[in-house]
């Protein structure tokens, strides 16, 4: 028998956004027209669908009210989202899909994009793959450090989150991660982490970028493609 979900204290503004991005459809609330074109639609993907995910980004970036960002910023943001999605595919072991949605806030000049999975969580992975028994918020902090990775086997890992973190710090944006009973965020180079009293059954990552950023993200040195290896 199915379970019944009831929303309480759902703020009007939040409810409107969730109605516009289709999240509330499954709960019997009709989709509201997104007249400002600021919403990136709520969608569920299976881990096997990582090849069709780029088309979702393409569709929801074009023709929306999302501001004209510099080419470098658009490219970095797109790449960051793809890295996050890949992270869920590789690490979450989710059997209940990967959920995405986004929202542009024109007044604040912020663009948020969230990816959630119903998987095993970062703490579990750090414990079972690395043997480190950390509290959930400390496990997230560990995963966000340098070359740390829970990847094992013949294919290396551990760069995706670092690249996103470096980009977000330069951009002046924010990353928020909830996994298990841990919460971690970084903003303006300052990291904070707390432990929740109840766990989230998976991992949720929200990246928020400053859309007024005009940085070119040029490389400090010109890479030489001949001497890479």
């Amino acid at each position: 028998m199915g379970k019944e979900v009831e929303f309480t204290s759902l703020d009007g503004g939040v409810k409107r956004i969730l109605a516009k991005n289709s999240f509330l459809v499954d709960f019997g609330i009709n989709v509201e027209a997104d007249l400002n074109h600021t919403t990136m639609q709520y969608n569920r993907f299976e881990p096997e669908e990582e090849k069709i995910f780029p088309a979702y980004i393409e569709k929801h970036f074009q023709g929306k009210g999302i501001p004209k960002m510099s080419e470098a910023l658009t490219s970095r943001f797109r790449e960051g989202i793809l890295e996050l999605f890949s992270n869920s595919v590789l690490h979450s072991e989710t059997k209940f899909g990967i959920y995405v949605c986004g929202q542009y806030f024109p007044t604040r000049k912020r663009l948020d994009f969230s990816i959630a999975d119903m998987g095993v969580g970062i703490r579990y992975n750090v414990k079972t793959k690395k043997g480190l028994d950390l509290e959930a918020h400390n496990a997230i902090a560990w995963a966000m450090e340098g070359n740390n990775t829970t990847k094992t086997g013949s294919i290396p890992g551990g760069l995706g989150l670092k690249l996103i973190r470096d980009f977000i710090e330069l951009n002046g944006g924010r990353i928020q991660i909830i996994s298990d009973s841990g919460y971690w965020e970084t903003q303006k180079g300052v990291h904070s982490a707390i432990r929740f009293t109840a766990p989230f059954p998976g991992t949720l990552v929200n990246i928020e970028i400053n859309t007024s950023d005009k940085a070119s993200y040029r490389l400090a040195t010109e890479p030489n493609p001949v001497n890479v290896f």
């Binding site: 990582e50 090849k51 999605f85 890949s86 690395k130 043997g131 294919i155 551990g158 890479p223």
Partner: protein
């Protein structure tokens, strides 16, 4: 020894280099050419986006199979954007570190878990 040019989007059938399975396809083509003694020119022409998970599968894992000197000068990136070259450089240095420490990691993991691994 021959110089063999391969094009990444042609091998995987898409300009979005995001799937680990696709990275594996590129890896297999590079690795088989290296085993035949060929120099591989890897063309990124047409690539729209490329992420580290793809590059780790395509290129990073080569460092677990070949010695550094077997790879040095044997793979050349061509028709690649500077940002993508920079990403490959990060993947290569991360892979070297990963495989250098893998034995240490594996041993530590086995000790911590009390298993003999797989």
């Amino acid at each position: 020894m021959a110089i063999v040019r391969i094009n990444v989007p042609e091998i995987i059938g898409t300009t979005d280099c995001v799937a680990t399975a696709d990275g594996q396809k590129v890896h297999d083509v590079i690795a088989s050419n290296l085993r035949e003694g060929n120099v591989v020119h890897v063309s990124f022409q047409g690539v729209k986006s490329i992420i580290t998970a793809f590059l780790n599968a395509a290129i990073g894992q080569l460092y677990g199979e070949f010695k550094d000197e077997e790879l040095s000068g044997k793979i050349v990136l061509i028709e690649a954007k500077k940002d993508d070259v920079a990403k490959v450089i990060k993947v290569v240095s991360g892979a070297k570190l990963y495989f250098k420490d893998k034995k240490k990691f594996d041993t530590a993991q086995q000790d911590a878990l009390g298993t003999d691994g797989e």
